[in-house]
Amino acid sequence: MKQTAYDVIAVGTGFATTFFLKEYLRTAPAKAKVLVLERGHFYPRAERAKDLSGEPTAFAKLNPHSNDAIQNNRPEKDWHFSIGFGGSSNCWYGCTPRFLPSDFRMKTLYGVGNDWPIQYDELDPYYEEVEDLMSISGPAETPYPRRKPYPQPPHLFTEVDKILHQKYGKLYINQPTARARVAMNGRNPCCASAVCGVCPANAKFTIENSNFGVYEDPRVELLFGAQVYGLELVQDRVRRVSFRQDNHDFHVPGEVVALGTNALFNANILLNSGDTNALTGRGLGEQLGLQAHVYLDNMQSLGGSTWVNANGYMLYDGDHRKEYAACLMESSNAPLFRPESGKWRNLVSFRMIFADLPNNENYVATTADIMKPQIHYKGPSDYTLRGVEAMKKRLPDVLSCLPVEKISYDPPFSSEAHILGTTRMSATAQDGVVDKYLRHHQYRNLFVLGSGSFTTYTPANPTLTLSALSLHAARNTFSSSHA
């Protein structure tokens, strides 16, 4: 390390940390000292694509597999994330819908969960900014309020999508996405290869291709292979950050600390450090997703310029959320087909994604290995499972504008790759771990970033929202203090 102490120590290099630091650096003094501790190493997208093509690459063994980094008490339930520079930007699929305004008011509107301490209107300008920074492609009309057009034009619908959009209008829209529609800022247009985890066309936004310049900033010192395991907490402040690199332990002082690993490791670090908030580590969850295959009579699903061309909100919002979970539909353009003569593409496939509610019986705990959290997860709630049953009853009617032969459902996926909860946001310390600026209620120079801060779990993908929350947190903390 170049310094003996830092103004900001940030942990992780994924979306949460990157957007937080981008805002911090915008107004930070020229002599600010920032240390970024990244557990993994840089594994370029082109090398990941080589590995997936079957070509050898020296980068393949640099980063640990996510499954090896945790102790999972229920291995059939996968917790999917990516370790290395850029975090889960290296495995996400680039879906960026906003939350709906009602998602932030579950308690007030539907009597379930809790209300967020931040509302849609306050987050709106930050959503807009993240959409600009990621060059999001999206439609003119959305089920959530927006003030200006998306930076990139919308992706093309399939022929089936067009019929559904004609019937449902802004409840069935071109998916807002970080998979580019047109070439921009070093990214190529998406061509629906449908393997977006590692985009072969470099169309999907990642920290690597962001051109933000955060980690190249001369004020930033980035250490790879540096895993944080604890914080020294003294009199309601973080004094030092403890990390291990090359089998040596280091303890470095920081004025402000921002944890941006993920909901599993943020909680593990806090618990290792002696955080006594009753809700730290509790409420671990994610959405539940399953695929619905809709067989069509004499109609083909063709066209479409990206992997998920459309989002359907017909089963999402409404009073039913008092009883069962909201459901978001994703129209898949993966190259699936029916192995039947003359009916090859008489098939449309939707991923049905269900909200869940935080359950304190799902949690992260420490283990004898301070680097490795233990995951305790009983499963989705009855609220979610009722949502699945309700969907199966309602979907035929929703799709009545199509010539449906039959609908078949796959079993739920073992993961939606959206790890939520464990350090939820709240107005008071009794109801959560962090406030609306992602500052720990007790340790006031500590930010706990990312989707671990979500108060409730909507069906919408979390990345756009967690990035907007990071911008919001940094701007409201540092802009005035720097001034």
Partner: protein
């Protein structure tokens, strides 16, 4: 090979292409996994278990057909189906045969 010919008995499959696909698939999955696959596929073929009931069959048959020129030829069942090489979008991006690349919107 029998599984593929069985599943697509109504198509004109290039037999050499099917052999090459199977060889390529085996190479991709390694010998140990190949032994397991042989056992399973023989069993399924003997039992005449079709794609509806077997995930392995579904994977093999899907991968085979998407690795041919069938979809590029607009699903013309009267043409011989030729194997092009294992479908791998990381090696050959933009090959999704149902996308707007191949079905652009009408002008």
């Amino acid at each position: 090979m029998g599984i593929i010919h069985n599943e697509f008995h109504f198509l004109k499959l290039d037999p050499q292409g099917v052999k090459r696909f199977v060889a390529d698939y085996c190479r991709l999955n390694g010998l140990g996994k190949q032994l397991t696959m042989n056992l399973k596929t023989k069993t399924y073929r003997l039992l005449k278990v079709d794609a509806e009931h077997s995930n392995l069959v579904r994977i093999l048959t899907h991968l085979y057909l998407i690795s041919t020129d069938f979809f590029q030829n607009r699903m013309d069942e009267s043409r011989e189906v030729k194997y092009l090489g294992l479908y791998n979008p990381h090696k050959t991006p933009c090959a999704n045969p149902f996308s707007a690349v191949y079905y652009p919107p009408a002008a």
